[in-house]
């Protein structure tokens, strides 16, 4: 009779009305949101790309700004999903009690957690498209393969949404998220090849880098923007999918435990 916290998730299409709810909230603030998705990567690419790039002849066979553009796509999509899953997700779960209201309808917690992941993934998709447009407009990529950045943005978003929700499920308050950003996200940005190639790192750190999801995202994005089919792309996709599934399941178990109190 006791709730099985570890039961496999049950999927239903009832997550769609929750996605639409979040979309309606987003639509009311679409202007500033889109501006944020565009301005941030442009500032990074211009500032670092031209500033730092001016001192470097080329990095990994690319101009520095072209090298950086692949990192920026992944970095931006990671950030959109993480902020959505942590801060906005926590607000919906805890502060506004939106989840409580939804749970009184025929919707279950499994649907809610799934909707959070898909919604945060959608925000990443938007962010990825925005950065891709900037890359095209700046003439940094003319590759037809760069269109694959669009589904990749969704995958990266789902991945970091799932991981972020684990933190949300454990968080006593907003301050808790600082640990995640300081101890996980920031090191990831420096270890995964956003700003410089991973092979610049000592061997031990390269091993750490090889298991981090952002590395696999960048290993897909960088060749795609350069019109090359990524080496071992199946492995990279599989690792990212693995993070999505593991993160979803772990966060769901943690949310079940938290909300059954």
């Amino acid at each position: 009779m006791k709730t099985n916290l570890f039961a496999l998730p049950q999927f239903s299409l009832r997550f769609i009305p929750i996605w639409r709810r979040n979309f309606l909230v987003w639509k009311k603030m679409a202007g500033p949101s889109i501006l944020g998705h565009l301005a941030d990567p442009v500032i990074y690419m211009l500032g670092l790309g031209y500033g730092l790039g001016g001192m470097l002849p080329e990095v990994g066979g690319l101009s520095y700004i072209a090298f950086l553009s692949a990192g920026t796509v992944c970095y931006s999509t990671m950030n959109s999903a993480s902020f959505e899953a942590l801060y906005s997700g926590f607000a919906r779960m805890h502060e506004q009690r939106t989840w409580d209201a939804i749970l009184n309808t025929p919707i279950t917690l499994d649907d809610i957690v799934f909707s959070e992941i898909v919604w945060a993934g959608s925000k990443s998709l938007l962010s990825g498209v925005a950065v891709l447009l900037v890359i095209w407009l700046m003439g940094l990529s003319h590759s037809p393969l760069s269109l694959w950045i669009i589904p990749l943005s969704l995958l990266v978003g789902l991945c970091f949404a799932s991981l972020g929700l684990i933190v949300t499920a454990l968080a006593p308050g907003y301050d808790f998220f600082m640990y995640y950003f300081t101890l996980v996200i920031t090191p990831m940005v420096l270890l995964c090849g956003v700003f410089f190639p991973v092979d610049q790192l000592p061997a031990s750190l390269q091993h750490v880098s090889s298991i981090l999801p952002l590395t696999h995202a960048i290993n897909l994005a960088r060749p795609l923007l350069n019109n090359v089919i990524p080496a071992n792309f199946m492995t990279h996709i599989a690792v990212l999918l693995g993070y999505v599934l593991a993160g979803f399941y772990i966060s769901l178990v943690l949310f079940r435990r938290r909300l059954s109190q």
Binding site: K2, V25, Q96, R97, T98, T105
Partner: protein
């Protein structure tokens, strides 16, 4: 069998603490049923069990012919809930709150739009249709929450302390609306701290304490079965010594709380005559009410 809800031997523990301890309950169609109890008696946990939001450790439960929690999703399709704490969507207008909530029940936008005028009318919010939630008063928010609970035209409505924190005008309006719902044949299950609310609205009541139902019946039955019909409240500084000397002689039962003695009597006349001899004491003679029953059954100590 016309029971909308039936629970047998429901039990729920959190760690070592038994929060709901062998609860038996049966609610008939069209009934307004009240669950009373001090803070921590297990009322909110009971509602969460009945809605299938948490699983009991033992017991059987049926809501609208669905086994809960196993088939709770199907049951909740025909249930409305007014929660204790406000959880309206602050980013939305009144109408958007109803629209978005209706979608959770799988209703189409057209279906919800068609119900909107009636819901807004019922909640006295027709003029606030496009107002944002943060601009509403406490009473308006409660009425919107009630309208939201009705969006799916539920058969059963759960209300967790529906009038807590409202001013008397706002409370009376909610009461009137709840009576209208009962008149339409809806089944209501409400928890409350307000005895006058329970006495006015509920056909039947259960008093809960320490996770158990201690008594169950109509408000009148509870008063008749549990307590003497007359109460004389005596106030004054020396009331404790007066009560020891005199109340014991003339009252079936008395309790002293601070500077007040509550005397419970079958016939108040002897006590009232006695009180004429003690002009320094003030008193109030009234019929026994539900609050007297509640305090007798659950005690006068604070629950925190």
């Amino acid at each position: 069998m016309n029971a909308v809800l039936s629970a047998r031997n429901l039990r729920k523990c959190y760690g070592d603490q038994v929060v709901v301890d062998g609860l038996n309950l049966s609610i008939q169609r069209g009934e307004c049923f009240g669950l009373l109890g001090p803070n921590g008696a297990g009322k909110t946990t009971t509602l969460r069990l009945l809605l299938g939001l948490i699983a009991p450790d033992a017991g059987e439960l049926q809501l609208l012919d669905h086994v809960v929690p196993g088939d709770a999703r199907a049951a909740r399709l025909h249930v409305g809930v007014v929660p204790q704490m406000d959880n309206l969507d602050p980013d939305f207008t009144v109408a958007e709150n109803l629209l978005v909530y209706g979608r959770y029940f799988g209703m189409s936008d057209a279906e919800i739009e068609a119900r909107l005028p009636d819901l807004l009318e019922f909640a006295n919010l027709a003029h606030k249709r496009d107002a944002k939630v943060p601009t509403l008063s406490g009473g308006m928010k409660r009425r919107l929450t009630l309208a939201r609970a009705l969006v799916n035209d539920p058969e059963v409505i759960f209300l967790d302390e529906p009038t807590t924190g409202l001013d008397p005008q706002a409370r009376h309006l909610i009461w009137q609306r709840l009576r209208e719902l009962t008149a339409r044949g809806k089944t209501l299950l409400l928890t409350t701290h307000f005895m006058d609310e329970a006495e006015r609205l509920c056909h039947r009541l259960a008093v809960m304490d320490n996770g158990r139902i201690i008594t169950i019946g109509s408000p009148r039955e509870l008063i008749e079965q549990n307590i003497e019909p007359q109460v004389v409240e005596v106030f004054g500084e020396q009331v404790a010594s007066w009560a020891r000397d005199y109340a014991a002689q003339h009252a079936q039962r008395f309790e002293v709380s601070g500077e007040t003695a509550f005397c419970y009597v079958q016939d108040a006349q002897p006590l009232l005559r006695e009180l004429q001899q003690h002009p320094h004491l003030r008193y109030l003679h009234r019929p026994a009410n539900l609050e007297d029953v509640f305090l007798k059954l659950t005690g006068r100590e604070m629950r925190e």
